[in-house]
Amino acid sequence: MSVEALSALGLSIRVAVVATLLDALIGIPLAYLLARRAFRGRALVDLLVTLPLVLPPTVTGYYLIILLGRRGWLGAPVYALSGWSVAFTWYAAVIAATVMALPLLVRTARAAIESVDRELEKAALTLGRSEWRTALEVTLPLARNGIVAGLVLAFARALGEFGATLMLAGNIPGKTTTVPLAIYTAVQTGEMGEAVALVLALTALSCVVLILAGRLGARAA
């Protein structure tokens, strides 16, 4: 495998790991809130989180540019203050992967949390646990299988993200060229050997993740 291919593989893993961690941080509390709390704007939050799942990735990518580009709603003030813009950096690849993978975690985890027996939560509350501790010590552990499954799906999605990444992060070898982008470039430039190597590497990696997830699920069950 060439140096570029190896760097793409390393970058892809780094991006997918960081994106999955961010998704866990945002997605698990969000899934809990959506499952267990009635709050104003719940339907809107649900809609916004789910949209990247149904929209073409390029549409999500376009919104990210409008939001985070150098002249974007958030991007412009950040650039004015710091002279730095997230577009075309590896952070942009992380953001794209995080947004695209979030609905897979939230939807799976939410369904798992909703299926937890409320009587058990009530018992914990009756025994004097706060809602916070009930969530951490009763609800989430009982929903663990669904949450792990959601994390695995999110990781796999983050690993394979293409469209939104290309739009926000570009395709800069060594900086933002993840494996899916490198495969695209390799095919376009007729480097079929390189493309095959990357395709096999990504397939193997995805298989390993799925097998590990299956084992985790079996142990937890």
Binding site: I65, G69, T185, Q188
Partner: protein, 259 residues
């Protein structure tokens, strides 16, 4: 209409392509910098030939070349550089006798309209305020190949590497500058018109620092419409065609150069 019927009708509309009696269809794979020119001439071409429909496939010349190598059903190829056409000719995928150069272009460096940066010569690109420069990916995008040649000849290609953002085609490079995501970019002088409110020319690299930008066209060997494709090449080199190209800022091919 019942819902089921509506869905059935919609299904038919989607699945059945419109049938036109005696229709001839031709697909043109065109270097994207030629988009407006080919579309303009294409309208003229279709008006004078009833029943002829042109389909356009715009992209970087390298991308289009790979598609033809992979057997894409294309009738006519218009490249923004000789290299991609040469490679197709060596592989026997174009009809050699039909190959004609019909236009010439000039490389330019642009910045966003309203940019206060002083970019007047290649060395200015190395300045600290120029954080990012977009060039077409030299592997597939001719304008990137010309930019690479030009920057190499002034010894700036290697030092500028950390700043380079690669674009998939020249219009993406144009877009990055227009959106203000990068401080400068390499495009053709004719591209500026497509985003004339958002970008301005900063400077033009010396023309002896890169190969002449010439556009060859050729009929693809696998074409099922070779006569029609040849007719389009004839239009490109005709007085009408040359006038239309000139209005859009293209130069005529260098004197005496036919292919």
């Amino acid at each position: 209409m019942s819902r089921g019927l509506r869905i059935t009708v919609l299904g038919f509309l989607v699945l059945c392509p419109p049938a036109v009696a005696g229709a001839q269809e031709m697909t043109l794979s065109v270097a994207i910098s030629m988009k407006e020119a080919v579309e303009t001439l294409g309208r003229q071409f279709m008006q004078s030939r009833s029943g002829v429909t042109l389909r356009y496939n715009f992209g970087s010349s390298g991308e289009l070349q790979k598609q033809i190598e992979a057997g894409a059903p294309v009738d006519l190829f218009i490249s923004a550089a000789q290299r991609q056409m040469d490679e197709l000719e060596q592989k026997g995928l174009i009809t050699t006798a039909t190959r004609r150069v019909f236009a010439r272009n000039v490389l330019t460096v642009i910045k966003a309209a309203g940019s206060t940066l002083d970019i007047a010569k290649p060395a200015d690109l190395a300045g600290a305020k120029v954080q990012r420069i977009v060039v077409g990916n030299p592997k597939t995008v001719p304008v990137g190949q010309y930019a690479e040649e030009s920057l190499k000849s002034v010894g700036l290609w290697d030092p500028l590497q950390p700043k380079l953002v690669l674009a998939e085609n020249v219009r993406q490079a144009l877009d990055y500058v227009a959106r203000g995501e990068v401080e400068a970019g390499f495009v053709y002088t004719t591209d500026v018109a497509a985003r004339s409110r958002q970008v301005v020319e900063a400077f033009r690299p010396a023309e002896d620092t890169y190969r002449p930008v010439t556009y060859p066209a050729a009929v693809v060997k696998a074409s099922k419409q070779p006569a029609l494709a040849q007719a389009f090449i004839d239009l490109l080199v005709s007085r009408d065609g040359q006038a239309a190209l000139s209005r859009l800022g293209f130069q005529p091919p260098p004197a005496g150069v036919r292919r």
